[in-house]
Symmetry: C3
Subunit: 323 residues, 3 copies
């Protein structure tokens, strides 16, 4: 299983992805228009009574945008969680917080047994870490940010609910957090829908708690190659290496997710949850045990002058391209 | 490698398997007839001098039936061990005890280097745990039962002999213990010959010492899906996912096992045993280290009123179907 | 994935390999002729200033032969390291020492980012452990030998450089050390180019630090079979089981290695090195932690009368065939 497309092709794919993921090409107005128009009404049923903690957290960011939309599906017990942090679902602290709050609510609501997670941004499933959160801020901010990212990982990886990722757009680096922690992954059959942990291409290294589930999913050898080379797999290769479980036409991603979900819900919850916990706990325990050290490592790495300088130049270039 | 047949098909397969495995459809007379007729004479050579301990244990159950038949094969050094606890080789305490005694004898007999394990029951390779052993009894009984099951696992997984499973019938849940701990697995190419750990479908969870060898054999991702969904694989899928090493027509299962065995016996025993132990010891050590906790967990789980009630209803239904 | 060629074929392949690997069929004169003619001039650029330690170590063996030749490649930053311990690159203590010294130099030379390791012996990539080093010597010698072999493994497995094995000849038993610790493995498409850990066929067991990377590369189930049966895979099977990443015609092995290397060098070194270390450290730590015990086990095993006797007979037979 050698997953090494010719160098030129990789470079091209990467260039294209950068264009799609990193450049906030959609004007702010359009963004707000889409959000207020489509997302809110559908989710209204669900969002009636926000917990106090949610209000407090949301207020803190002072945002009126709804970054995560939860909708019922046609199948009883199944929610569809739509990521809607335009343009490319970058993990801002605000977005991560909204995401965790929504997952917490679903987890505690006995009427739900499974969640389909998908993107409501036309340009991407998720671009992962928002570089503005890890550039030009102070160590206390980096610490909080990384802790929240770990929280999201732990909540997803050990979720009692069935989680299915309906990956309807490109999914790179930290954006793989949700697919890697899901029970099942469906990818849209579109050449732009690349998926992979391409951190090394940006000069950084994925954390061990991204490496561990990747090894669990595609094995050790393929992970060595994928992680070191920062490979972004197009759909056919993604399926072959096993980083996704199914590839279907883009307009069938969500319906397929529902159909697969039905099979998972045929199993009694209690037995399935015990089994899931038994398989995943050893991997999760590694993060639980080492999370403080991991935060220290991250903060110390990201605070380096050389890394900050490199990130600033990268962000400046993005801003320039946008103007 | 997505191993999710359509929900309907799974349900049908499972229904069929339940019929085959759980309903003791063969009248008791026929059972005894088969046993006394075919099995005993062939094994007579072997069974001449039973160890005292065996007599004591056998006497304890007061059974005259021979549940495990050991025969020589056409290849020197190779025994064929036939499971014959009709109708479906359920793991009764008596059957497990007979099995362990026979394995112990073969292990200590220097004339044997390998064992082919197969079923002498037309309806199944093995249905696993006998529900009557874990329903309506007391904690002391559950403790003894689980300990004996662990003993069997440890004896097989670290056996110095070459073990080949000749799986000539359906093999579900605990019935996979023998294949999972064998060195090589051959499955009959028959749509009824489903194999898998379908515990979750019965509302329970396979123990970690079933999960660990499964992960070793088919990998982590496939195990997550197979265990959570309680998948029973038909032959072609079983081969593809790797839970068996070879699929052959039913009437060739045993001869193929002998042919494969010949290759394994071409290797000097001492070197092969050292190597096998080196690879398997870390997995076996996990059970050795945690077996007391595992017994406590099992006994506490199975003693719950809700679980007992559910098992009683299930057994009552089986009895009703039989009458 | 059953990798069990018919017993007869295995026997034949093994016989052929023994002929190719073990019998020093090339007269000593020819050997020296080749070495002095071809190897030295090319490597002259590189070898100008030997470190003092190297001189000391080399002097100790009193050899004038150059067993390891390092050449530049057509790609900047990439060295080609040629194994040249004729006839079959057996791991003599002298050869291992030369190899470690050269690797150390390349590792410390900032102009190099990657190494392609290949054989300059027409008959083999490597036959592994030189039996003369572990036969008829004293425990102190065995201790030193095994320690140096562990040193080589650790240096390669955690190397900051990109390592690609260009396997242009048969590669058996300990000869797999270099491929197993490389980042990428390319095998010549020639039926004589068998690769595998066939230790059990010689009556010994591969150490756990050969087993661990093999499991990482081809998985647990395939490793159980390959190690216990001492399988030597021909190219197509080697690719299928995954012990190599690519198979190409023999005359393209080195150029393909260079082409693959280019892809690896497209990644920033620092990020790739951090990532490689994160993935491999847990496996390497096992050897670091247990290396003393492992040495003791090896020395005690190899010092046994029965093992020594068997090795002496084997060597005598080889000498006889040669005469």
């Amino acid at each position: 299983m050698p997953h090494l497309p010719p160098a030129q092709e990789v470079a091209l794919q990467f260039h294209q992805l950068c264009e799609h993921l990193m450049l906030p090409a959609v004007p702010a107005n359009t963004v707000l228009g889409i959000e207020e128009g489509a997302g809110l009404p559908d989710a209204a049923f669900w969002w009636k009574e926000r917990a106090t903690c949610c209000k407090v957290r949301a207020r803190r960011f002072g945002s009126q945008r709804q970054l995560v939309v939860v909708e019922p599906s046609s199948t009883a017990g199944v929610a569809v969680l739509k990521l809607k942090n335009l343009p490319v679902n970058s993990f801002s602290l605000e977005f991560l917080t909204e995401l965790i709050i929504n997952l917490e609510k679903l987890e505690n609501d006995k009427t739900f047994r499974g969640i389909i997670i998908t993107s409501d941004c036309p340009k991407a499933f998720s671009a992962g870490v928002d570089l503005r959160e890890i550039c030009g801020k102070n160590p206390a901010h980096y610490t909080e940010y990384w802790k929240v990212l770990q929280d999201l990982w732990l909540r997803l990886y050990l979720s009692n609910l069935v989680l299915i990722s309906a990956i309807n757009g490109p999914c790179a680096a930290g954006g793989c957090l949700i697919p890697l922690t899901s029970d099942y992954r469906i990818l849209a059959d579109n050449p732009k829908c690349l998926i992979g942990l391409n951190e090394t291409r940006l000069g950084i290294s994925a954390p061990f708690w991204f490496k561990d589930p990747l090894v669990n999913i595609i094995g050790h050898r393929a992970s060595e190659h994928a992680l070191q080379l920062g490979l972004l797999f197009p759909p056919a290769e993604a399926l072959q290496v096993g980083i996704v479980d199914k590839v279907v036409p883009k307009d069938q991603v969500q319906s397929t997710a529902l159909s697969v979900m039905t099979q998972w819900l045929a199993i009694p919850d209690h037995a399935r949850q015990l089994t899931k916990n038994m398989i995943r706990k050893p991997t999760a325990d590694l993060l639980v045990k080492h999370r403080d050290t991991d935060i220290q490592n991250f903060v110390s790495f990201i605070s380096r002058d050389s890394i900050q300088k490199s990130l600033q130049m990268y962000l400046a270039k993005l801003k320039q391209n946008k103007d």
